[in-house]
Amino acid sequence: MIAIFGIFLLTLLVITAIAIVRTDNLFVAVMLMGIASLLIAGNFFLLDAADVALTEAAVGAGISTVLFLSALALTSERERSRSSNKILSFAVVSTAALVLIYATFDKPRFGDPEAPSQVHVAPWYLEKTPEYIDIPNVVTAVLGSFRGYDTLGEVFVVFTAGIGVLFLLGSGAPLGSLPQEKINEGLRHHLIPRVVGRVLIPFILLFGLYVQFHGEYGPGGGFQAGAIIAAAIILFALLEGEQRALNVLSARVLLGLIAVGPLLYGAVGVAGILLGGNFLDYSVLSSNPVKGQQLGILLIEAGVGITVTGVLLSIFHAFAARGR
């Protein structure tokens, strides 16, 4: 039954991908990309990867759509028509597709218990997580502790990407220099979205905090929570005008947040060294090694969440500032 659902979702995904390639309206393409992300998220969920599904839904279908739309506001809606060598590109694409299909023959079958991913380190993680870290969600244990280096790398990737985009776009002209009437007022004159948004935003923030701090017990963690909290503040900016969102969290504070996240993560690692352990070894953070692991994961997840929120909001404001 699950296989049928999976094949159905993947078929829809292929149809969506073809539609994205064929349309020359960029607005339609962005909407279809959101749908594609949602389909992938559904498929991840079918495969029991709830953490990845949550990330894909929050980042792929939510935030990237908003960022794409902000980028579209700076350009035109239509794709520029290019005269290209269609036969050549068709040949390249079909060769790549054939190679990829050939490569799948070497992959283990779906759900094969002898697959390398099932017999390599995964059993060890599943066996040792209750003993070393004692949290129910093994994904968070692997992500935060056993594979802490990888996650540190990911945080720095987000950090670097954010800095790079801000360099390209500029963090926006200082708002004081702009005439007051040019500042975007958002949807202030539209009553219904504003009222409903006001009701919902606190709950979205609450849900973001739940995802952040519940990551040890269920699907969730810093990446997803950061995206959800950023989405709540972007919604506020859209409804109440960007200026009021910047009054709550100014561009300077957001820049600080981008830097604080990796610093917090790295500081937890260095604290491990100072207390006599290895880098990113949380066991020494507390007198009880298990409590130390839990504390370490909580801190680094907070670092991840802070960075993701800061980067996403800075990019959003940078796009919005360019649009004025």
């Binding site: 949807l187 539209h190 219904i192 979205p193 409903v196 919902l200 709950f203």
Partner: protein, 110 residues
Amino acid sequence: MTTPLDILSWVLLTLGGLSILIGGIGALRMPDLYTRMHAASVTDSMGAILVLTGIMLQAGWSLATIKLIAILLFLLLTSPTSSNALASAALLAGTVPFEDAGQDEGEAQE
């Protein structure tokens, strides 16, 4: 799970699926944006309410039911709002509602 509840839940799920199907057909077949939104709103309102209530009956009194109620409340708040925002944005952008119901389909499409 007692049988009457099971039957009721499946009836609700089937009706919900049916209204989602009707909404989908309407979204494809209706002549302009506003009527298409009108058809699609069947999916949002009736479809979501019926399917979620059906699942709630399957879940029984548990944490899952409370989460489903939260999802239902969220959908009931957001989907009319987004429909309203979409329709008013379309009206502001100058999309004229489809009016002449008397014409036959061939003329209306021109």
